[in-house]
Symmetry: C3
Subunit: 210 residues, 3 copies
């Protein structure tokens, strides 16, 4: 039950990132609703389709439609709006990432997958929605932006979640703690411009944001 | 049976839109066939994978390959070709949208999904193929073009289809009527430049086409 | 067993193409690992999800993670690097295409699909990963490049694989032979700039590379 609330909260955070991107790209409110739904629900639907046990949660439980509708309304009324430095979008995106790498791993683990597969599906559901959002809006995914680390915090979150589950230490509070650590790590990496080596060797220049 | 014909007709309309986009992007005939297949079959395969009952129709029934082959041939021989105003592509796309929001909802409903999920899957299959077409061809999806309404007619079509099914009023003719209304609504919105508010508040300027 | 090795080899070839593209796009090593995983595993996961029999191989068998990690390391250390003419990426991509159209068809056939569906899924798994790689990296897919033929060799490979299976002539060596022929055909088409007519009629000018 409390896990459902965390999953819905993650959906809401991602959905807001989708509506903010829709606003930046000059899409209309319907595009905003659909982009919010895609980023909020896309990762989880992909996870559920790969697990392959019946209809995905997002379609079976209509409550999953509430976060995208709410996100669209909050952005259309400018109650939530993007800053000039585009930080609002990145913050909500980080919140979704943090919650989904935990809840996604847990859902896959409880469906009976082996620990490695559960962690992989946790990462897939955490980064999948954001990649769909950026691809559909014709942007290079945030995931591939070499400034800040994006997938590493999600991988660590999925790893610690599956570790806690295997050791029998997992609880909702442990899940919240892991998500908070993932969010903090992602935030610090953006704040201080942390980066890892480039794909072809060498490193990115420090202050360069894309 | 007659529903299969409507589904194949929707596949054909979407397939033509894919081949016309392939022609505009200077792809070759094989790219035309593959883009026609993606837009014609992509939405339905996504729907069937989410329903999760066996292999999708498009793979089980080879007759679904006929519309993409036909679309590729008609465009390669220039029997169907795009106008300077790009209206031909938009008309065929609207035809696919109109037929798929009805047939997609019906197929999901008959697979035993609840009414809300059936309508959502109807919308998914109606807009999914077109989004895949535009994303793969590296264009911003038509779905997000703020001039004209795209998803709203499909949502209304799915809503009325599921309503008719719940009330026991659905028949092939009712399905055709709903599809005709969706097509008309989409066409009128393009003709008169209808639009809804933008995602971040405000409205698009009237005459602006993208 | 030997088929698993060919499937892993195909995954490795595709993974290298993903890491090379990541290097060209200035992504970092994590982006390189993820793009390598997407292109190496994306086509096969799509195939397995459409077949719909349990969790995809790539998630069930952790050995499928080895090729992407290896590809990322080989490109980061510049043991494999792209030439100025971009031929290295195209060669590895051709290797993945050749092996996957055979192994993908075989896996779908052994899962009990009819011959036409098995061949279609073979083509889907062969071209699917490469399309995902290019779409996510915001490039027009190689599949649609009118210089050289891409899908035709994969279609022929799937066709001959399913033919050999139906006639009871299939063996690992036959599979290797088909893959070698597909690779050769793709390579010759690039070398000599073979092309087929354009989607809207007419042909591409000979020497034009994109």
């Amino acid at each position: 039950m409390s896990m459902l609330i965390l999953d819905l909260l993650g959906t809401f955070f991602f959905a807001v990132s989708g509506s903010l991107l829709a606003a930046r790209k000059q899409f209309d409110v319907v595009g905003s609703l659909l982009l919010a739904s895609l980023v909020g629900l896309g990762g989880g639907v992909t996870r559920d389709v790969i697990i392959g046990e019946g209809v995905p949660n997002a379609f079976e439980q209509p409550v999953y439609l509430v976060p995208p509708v709410l996100a669209m309304l909050l952005v259309a009324t400018r109650i939530i709006h993007d800053t000039r430095l585009r930080r609002t979008l990145l913050l909500f995106d980080a919140g979704g990432l943090a919650l989904f790498c935990t809840s996604g791993t847990l859902i896959a683990y409880e469906a009976g997958l082996n620990p490695v597969a559960a962690a992989l599906l946790g990462v897939t559901s955490a980064v999948g929605g954001g990649v769909m959002r950026d691809v559909v809006a014709n942007e290079t995914p945030q995931l591939f932006n070499p400034r800040g680390v994006y997938a590493i915090p999600a991988m660590l979150g999925a790893f610690f979640t599956v570790g806690a589950l295997e050791l029998g230490w997992f609880s909702t509070w442990v899940g919240i703690g892991i998500a908070a650590a993932v969010f903090t790590l992602r935030g610090l990496s953006l704040r201080f411009g942390w980066h890892v080596p480039l794909a072809g060797g060498g490193t990115v220049r420090g202050g360069e944001a894309r």
